[in-house]
Symmetry: C2
Subunit: 314 residues, 2 copies
């Protein structure tokens, strides 16, 4: 049996192995993904983002528990804020989620952010597809919502959840400005802290200004205490309400189209570059280009034109 | 006269116009950049990064003033944390730097972060090249140091400065972990606040663990008060010390090679994708691919292979 066939049979070890092959960009992984693709499209994808320290992992832990109580299978893709150079992952979050380690209905996978441009987004989509084909009912994608890359990733989820904490203050106005548009559900976590009501009120006011159309989805602000599990049931209900709205309004079909476009263009971008860069590295052209740039007898723009001239597309 | 010739003549308006053409990806901008390229490589490039609220812009303002006192020409490329959807820029930082607006020896340019993957990094390098060819002695590239994209950008500078504030606490351990490796100089700004000495001591301890090699550059931690200009002279001296070390150790040559490689691969990645995506959009192939993905008769991996098969590189 191929890895893909074993994944479709529900083999957890085969799924883990395939995800490693995806990370390592093995050519064989692409063939397995092709086999899996017709079996995808059934999972509900939940994107969770917010600044470091907002308690996202604790919240994800509670969300897993809530869906498990409903007997749903849950996959989690956690994007680690890994050091770009050392590759050393911050393990705290992963350890905190370990209470589900013995539950066969929960599958957790961490991805590092050290990938090249566009690579992270593509890897995430590939891993989500594997979990989807495995039969996971809910797939949670968790990122630290600060870079463009990560905003792109969560905004392709069916429901995007933005997690805040009380009293984040003016310092993160900049982050908020970008995040207001991508959230379908907003959470003020650690709601037992001072200022929770005020943060929730301010967020609600900002959201009402941003979403004036009566027929569109109106994002609400919910308060939770991840550590004690307070507000989780209401949160899950809000996810269900959004999912229902997506299906009934026709917005789901648009979202799927956007997601398809993104997975295709991300894959195309990377394969094109890898193929062409591999060819010019092997032929020695890349070395020549760098030599030319060093003594400034060649500029990078002309060099790229010369490489493109070797392609049928030029 | 072409725009490039006017830029080489020191024409500020021509430079601003060319930077707009670069933003808009006009084909003509590439030709101008080709003309400018042999005249680049003279500027000292300073990358400044740190979380929102660290006071980076105020510090940049003081750095500009310090270099202007030495009669050096200063260019600034500021990367705005623009909303990915609305495109609305946060203007506060730009306004704060306006005291140099009437100084012909200072050229400030903001770039939005809404670009597609890799686009920001490429635009930044192109704009730096224009400023370099204009004869700017020092070029400051300022980013909010949170995403991979932005880390990539500042780490191609000659000297990378990481700005912190006292008492940032555990919440940003994740960010710190990534940022420790890229900094050549560390600044604890707002040093009049409680905990400045402690933050500086902790940072110093972490850096000593990270940099055990005696022959390598040892990053120091400096304290500044951007608003009152305290510690700026020492900061400029530290930049000079690092620049001198780069030249004397041979590290500068390696840095230039890395920078050249990055500008070439960023440009290649984007031009390849734009060319091929344009071709399949025009031919209707892209529409067919999305239709196939919608009914799952076609997977994105096979679709990409079919597109690549149309290329001489496959």
């Amino acid at each position: 049996m191929t890895l893909a066939e074993r994944v479709l049979d529900g083999d957890i070890r085969a799924a883990a192995r395939l995800m490693r092959d995806i990370d390592d960009r093995f050519k064989s992984a692409t063939d397995e993904l092709k086999t899996l693709y017709p079996h995808t499209g059934n999972a509900y994808i939940l994107g969770i983002t917010g600044p470091p320290g907002a308690g996202k992992s604790t919240l994800v832990d509670q969300i897993i528990a809530a869906y498990r109580k409903k007997d749903l299978l849950v996959g989690v893709v956690a994007i680690d804020p890994t050091s770009p150079f050392s590759g050393g992952a911050i393990l705290g979050d992963r350890i905190r989620m370990n209470r589900h380690a013995d539950d066969a209905g929960v599958f957790i996978r961490s991805l590092a952010t050290r990938g090249c441009l566009g690579g992270l987004s593509r890897s995430t989509m590939d891993v989500v597809n594997v979990m989807d084909a495995m039969g996971m009912d809910v797939i949670v994608v968790e990122t630290v919502g600060v870079g463009q890359d990560e905003v792109d990733i969560v905004s392709t989820a069916h429901t995007t959840v933005v997690v805040m904490v009380p009293g984040m203050g003016d310092d993160i106005q900049a982050i908020k400005a970008g995040i207001l548009e991508i959230g379908d559900v907003f959470v003020v976590n650690k709601a037992d802290r001072d200022g929770a009501d005020r943060t929730a009120r301010e967020l609600t006011a900002m959201l009402e200004m941003k979403h004036p159309e009566p027929e569109a989805w109106q994002p609400h602000v919910l308060k939770t205490e991840g550590c004690r599990g307070v507000g989780i049931d209401e949160l899950i209900e809000e996810f269900t309400a959004h999912h229902t709205w997506l299906k009934e309004s026709g917005a789901l079909q648009r979202l799927i189209e956007e997601r398809n476009a993104k997975i295709f263009t991300d894959t195309l971008r990377q394969e094109l570059f890898d193929t062409v860069f591999g060819a010019i590295s092997d032929s020695g052209m890349y070395r020549q280009i760098l030599n030319g740039m060093r003594d400034r007898s060649l500029d990078p723009y002309t060099a790229v034109e010369e490489v493109l001239a070797g392609s049928a597309f030029s």
